[in-house]
């Protein structure tokens, strides 16, 4: 099944014996001119790339105070070393967060600090050369920007930001990553990562309406481009295309239907995901975010709600207002933007949704916290809402629920192994190995409580688990969308 060794699942997560260079060969396909140029980057490695890279690093140091603090502050305490899922799964010491940061830090010291300029050997500063650049390309594409390490760093150093900066430097010298950049270009020109044009979207949604009505006898609608709707739903395009994502979309529609909320999706902004964040590009992130603003204005909606997508929610919750605000044209009685989980939980608390959890009695589930929701955002009005609300919803719609071990969930959650722009087939070895800690935690609740399904609220997590679970002996369909379970438990009022 694989041309690499799949790690063995252990009883508990173990710190592996170091294997120097174990993943030095891992690197994704390099982007081409056709995707580089439209994003504002050179099509191939520029001639004076050393200077261009240092210029870009200088530019980022000037723009982002955090970036410089993170490069300066590390005291090599080692708290982060065993916190990265890619390190735990690959045993490559360069996948220790501090070592990953040092790949950039050693060049920063050489050119931007007094000690590094005059006494490089004393402070581990090195010249920027092609070998260093290649190592950046390899190892900054072995970080899913999940920020688990930053939770354990006493200085709060955020490796994700360092890895975003590294990728931006790489793009600036013409060495972009194909997967991310092709997708960003598609979303900026066609409206979504998949490149689904309006007629295909329309057709898929009509099909869905037919299917749902056939299934439950209720005419649930999945509207597209309907002016005057109250809610604009922004959801990852995987929700239209892939499984189990589409079952989540079916669930959102059922919730809106039951609540009598008029809603629509937009073909122009048919993507929640914002890969601009993964490559550290403010400009590209903003271009994508502005499509949402434009769609909201054109459709005349009062609220914006986001579907199940991890990093989309981080961008939406933390940056949307800065990127594309102000949203003063929306109804101030609702959060801008709102997460579908907030809509559903709010309705459950008000008794507006009648739920029969026994509809899901054939399942025994646990919840996978997605990194960007867990560590980059919040839900609801109280701290930790992003952990409590999805679990509260889940417990209202199933009877069999067990959490995975505490050190692997909530703010300490382990990445699925495919986040941060790494969900591509050319990184399959990394993805499978990076899923190890999560699979071990799943095995724990499987062996102890009979848990057979993992529930998530992120399109990347869902696709990644579908693909990697079989390597670890789980069925590919043991990953579910939260709103599928909500939809299945929903008891519809019999209107007219």
């Amino acid at each position: 099944m694989a041309d690499f060794e799949v790690p063995e699942l252990k009883e508990h997560i173990e710190i592996p014996e170091l294997q120097e260079g174990a993943m030095a060969h891992s690197q994704p396909f390099v982007s081409k001119e056709q995707w580089q140029q439209p994003l504002g980057y050179p099509g191939e490695l520029v001639e004076n790339w050393e200077q261009a890279a240092l210029d870009k690093m200088g530019d980022l140091l000037g723009k982002y105070r955090s970036f410089q603090v993170f490069l300066d502050a590390c005291v090599k305490c080692g708290a982060c070393t065993d916190k990265c899922h890619y390190f735990l799964g690959t045993a490559d010491p360069k996948n220790m967060p501090v070592a990953r940061q040092d790949l950039l830090r050693k060049v920063y010291r050489r050119y931007f600090t007094f000690a590094g300029k005059y006494f490089p050997k004393l402070v581990g500063a090195v010249d920027l050369n092609k070998e260093v650049l290649d190592e950046w390309y390899s190892y900054f594409h072995q970080c899913s920007q999940c920020r688990r390490c930053s939770v354990f760093c006493p200085y709060g150093i955020d490796t994700a930001e360092i890895s975003m900066a590294a990728r931006e430097i790489l793009d600036a010298v013409g060495v972009g990553q194909k997967y991310c950049n092709e997708i960003i270009h598609k979303a900026q020109t066609l409206g979504n990562n998949l490149g689904l044009p309006q007629p295909a979207l329309k057709d898929t949604l009509l099909d869905l309406e037919e299917e749902v009505e056939e299934d439950i006898g209720v005419p649930v609608r999945y509207p597209l481009d309907e002016k005057g709707a109250d809610v604009l739903l922004i959801t990852p395009s995987a929700d239209f295309f892939a499984e189990p994502h589409i079952d989540g979309l079916i669930g959102y529609g059922k919730v809106f239907h039951q609540l009598g909320i008029s809603w629509t999706m937009s073909s122009f902004a048919s993507e929640a995901a914002n890969f601009g964040m993964f490559i550290g590009s403010y400009e590209n992130m903003q271009r994508l975010a502005l499509r949402i603003r434009k769609a909201a204005l054109e459709l005349g909606v009062k609220r914006i709600v986001f579907g199940e997508c991890g990093h989309a929610w981080r961008v939406a919750y933390s940056f949307l207002n800065t990127l594309a605000g102000p949203f003063d044209f929306l109804d101030p009685n609702y959060p801008v933007p709102q997460h579908i989980c907030e809509v559903t939980w709010d309705a459950i608390q008000k008794g507006q949704l009648k739920l029969d959890p026994s509809a899901n009695d054939h399942l025994n589930v646990t919840f996978h916290d997605s990194c960007n929701v867990a560590r980059g955002s919040r839900m609801g009005n109280e701290p930790g809402g992003q952990f409590k609300i999805p679990r509260a919803i889940l417990k209202s719609v199933v009877n069999n629920y067990h959490d995975m071990p505490r050190e692997t969930i909530c703010e300490s959650t382990f990445c699925c192994g495919g986040g941060g722009g790494l969900l591509t087939d050319d990184l399959m070895e990394l993805r499978v190995k990076g899923a190890l800690p999560r699979m071990e935690a799943l095995k724990h609740v499987h062996d102890n409580y009979g848990v057979d399904h993992l529930v998530a609220i992120c399109a990347i997590c869902k696709s990644q688990f579908t693909k990697v679970m079989p390597y670890y002996g789980f069925e590919m369909d043991s990953i579910l969308s939260l709103h599928q379970l909500v939809g299945d438990a929903l008891v519809f009022d019999q209107h007219d």
Partner: protein, 110 residues
């Protein structure tokens, strides 16, 4: 990268998807499958032909749900599910079947 079929060379991307969609012929599709040690049966061709028809109309591969429903209608309900499609195309119907049908690889969080 490229693939050679009946003495003619066709350009592909790094993952073996045709660079020029108009290059596709059933022979090219079969050769791509053969390179993956996969022999295309009538069941495979049902899927491939549907993908091509859909692509012609919408310029994109169909959603997995659209595909399973269409196959279910054609070949019977027991085959209208992704398990059946994964038996035919173990690397995933969306990706592997698209490749043999000469369609571009679906991108995004899929």
């Amino acid at each position: 990268m490229s693939i050679e079929v009946n003495g003619k060379t066709y350009e592909t991307d790094e993952e073996g998807y045709l660079a020029n969609l108009n290059d596709w012929t059933p022979e090219v599709g079969a050769a791509m499958a053969a390179a993956d040690d996969c022999e295309l049966t009538d069941a495979h061709w049902e899927v491939i032909n549907f993908l091509r028809e859909y692509y012609e109309e919408y310029q994109i591969a169909p959603a997995v749900r659209v595909l399973t429903k269409a196959i279910g209608k054609k070949l019977g309900k027991d085959k209208g599910n992704s398990k059946y499609l994964y038996q035919l195309f173990p690397y995933g119907p969306a990706k592997q079947a698209c490749k043999y049908a000469g369609l571009p690889k679906p991108t995004g969080c899929v």
